[in-house]
């Protein structure tokens, strides 16, 4: 029994460990989409933050420095997106896709270029130490739950903190209200005297910076090894875009949504061991193809999109002006 309990605990523990990058990506994208911009460059933004944050963090042997660099470099990518789409009125879909192509390619370029100079995590003991799991006193002593939720590395808690802060910001502050107004009806927001370009720049940059932290997390979680064939981000950026829809553009719900999407993602890896530990109850899990679990987040999101639009859901958090550039003189 203890053995089966530990399998379950490990399963839920892994959900948290592996899905936190989704939370960073999703919260970042929510901040951007609430301003009315659809940034399809999550994958690339995360890749750039990951590779630069990791390398500098290793060299400086400090997780804090790594996080700063990841945030700043990704925020600069966000600045590029803002410059192109807000100032220069370029198409958001094309710009976002280009950022993804460019970011992932830059990741490989830097990795291949460094070759044997690629820093190993072992060379940065203090950074590794800062990233190691820490147990929250008292809470982590709760059997099962304590291990699952309260004995993680610091970046897990930071992610949840950012999500909650963003929720408070969007829903209770004046600036948050103004931001949502821009996403819903930029013309009206403009006539209220809100500085639309400035607001868009700031939120796109902050949102991108948050994504960069998620990228760094993925790199550290994968042991920091560069593989010539697989990018660290590995599609998490795209899942984040889907997750934004799943959680209805709500950062607080993103914490729950991340856990749900992470559940399927982790099930892909653990379905075998779960099926063999609980042959009676979960034996059927072994028969479901792993690819189905991978596709499930996208299938669910697709269904939500369709059902939401069929019901003409008034409560939908989707900003009305999403994806449309605001050009004052077309108003």
């Amino acid at each position: 029994m203890t053995d089966s309990l530990s399998v379950l605990t490990l399963f839920f523990f892994s959900i948290v460990v592996y899905s936190i990058p989704l939370l960073y990506g999703t919260v970042g994208e929510i901040m951007i989409e609430k301003s009315g911009s659809l940034n399809l460059g999550v994958e690339g933004t995360m890749a750039i933050g990951a590779v630069l944050g990791y390398i500098v963090g290793c060299r400086a042997d400090s997780l804090f420095v790594g996080m700063m660099i990841a945030f700043i470099s990704s925020a600069l990518v966000g600045a590029l997106f803002s410059f192109l789409t807000v100032t220069l009125q370029a198409n958001q879909n094309v710009t976002g896709l280009t950022i993804t192509t460019f970011g992932v390619a830059l990741y490989y370029f830097i990795g291949n270029g460094l070759g044997n100079d690629w820093p190993q995590m072992g060379s940065a003991p203090r950074m590794v130490n800062s990233f190691s799991d820490m147990e929250i006193p008292l809470l982590s002593d709760i059997p099962g739950i304590g291990k699952i939720f309260f004995s993680h590395n610091i970046m897990v808690y930071i992610a949840v903190g950012i999500a909650v802060l963003c929720w408070i910001y969007l829903n209770t502050t004046t600036l948050g209200l103004e931001l949502r107004a821009i996403g819903e009806n930029p013309g009206a927001a403009d006539s209220m005297g809100i500085n639309i370009p400035l607001m868009k720049y700031i939120h796109i940059m902050v949102g991108s910076g948050i994504m960069g932290l998620g990228g760094l997390y993925m790199g550290l979680n994968m042991g920091g090894t560069f593989e010539g064939s697989n990018c660290w981000i590995n599609g998490y950026g795209w899942i984040s875009i889907a997750l934004v829809i799943f959680v209805n553009w709500n950062p607080a719900m993103a914490v729950v949504g991340t856990f749900v999407f992470g559940f399927f993602n982790t099930l892909r890896v653990y379905s075998g061991s779960l099926a063999s530990t609980f042959p009676g109850l979960l034996g059927w899990l072994g028969n479901i193809p792993a690819q189905f679990f991978s596709a499930l987040p996208f299938i669910i999101t697709l269904l939500i999109l369709v059902v939401d639009s069929m019901r003409k859901n008034k409560k939908s958090g989707q900003p009305a002006a999403i994806g449309l550039n605001y050009y004052r003189e077309d108003r």
């Binding site: 370029a90 896709l97 192509t101 460019f102 370029f109 690819q291 999101t301 999109l305 994806g323």
Partner: protein, 367 residues
Amino acid sequence: MNNLHLVKRSGNTLVRRIVCYIVAIIISMGIGAILLSVLGINPVSYYKDMLTIGLIGNRYAYKSVEGFLKVFVPLLMVSLALALSFKMRFWNIGGEGEFLVGAMCAAAVAFNFGSLPTAALIPLMCLAAIISSGLIGLAVAFLKCRFNTNETLITLMINYIVLYGVKYFGETKADWNFFLRDDSARPIFAKFPENAEMPGIHIGAFNLLYSVIFTLILTVIIYVYLKYTKQGYEIAVVGDSSDTARYAGIKVKRVTLRTMFLSASLIGLAGAFSASASATVSSSMTNSVGWTGIVVAWLSKLSIPGIFVASILISILQYGCQAASTSYPAIDRNYADLLQGIILFAVLVSDFTVTFKIVKRKEDASK
């Protein structure tokens, strides 16, 4: 700053655009050259290798041309197809998924009816691809027309659902799975029966595939379709303003459904061609053509001749990097993506100078 503002340029901007784009490409290549030098690689000799796609001083130059065409043909066709829907302001970004669906359905026909003669089998494969992908496009268009579902996000999801579907067929060893090789214990996609391979015209050692010829003919047909037919005109009107179109008596929904079916089915056809030309399928066979196609279509401002030129340029970039990587192992094919990204950023900036001009605000006369 306040007395400067943006004004949209009017009139013909074609020459200005071409000049701006050329400048943008040169600047990007310059940035790329700096990056290469940082890695200690001579940019001049690298660019020479890349831009000549391994044609010069190569006894097997025809192989390079064939390799180039394998990149160029799907890209051209997908970009053309996407341009159809983009002209309508319908953001079909499901090129990856539609391409794979077409390829897989063509493969299903190839494996099950492999005994048919080539002249019957290949059209049948193409038909399967056209119908299956077209239906996906039709479904998305229906949702858009009926419920105003966001098509960008829907097609994005479809890409990944299809991708994992293909991976499922490619990684599941089972009796019913006719996609895989029988003689291998590991799951590997099987080679098509011989009759399903795309035939071609032999010019010396060079094999000019019929799919290449057909794609070029199709380019002309689409050009004529958009420019000189009623249906093509309807697409343009719907794209400009669906309200105007409705007042003019155009059935907007019908145009949307028809055009999306065409767009998706052409992408599916490109998938079938690609599968037949390489006589197999794989989950990575799209070579990101669904994404690159969006970029190409947009770069060319949805003009068909523009798409033709841009497809050639991007294909040279991509295949050239592949060809050059034999002599420069430190630079893999991702360098093409990097350069492509920089070029596009530069072009987006130069786009601005083409569409807008900054003028000084005149003093308000009424004051």
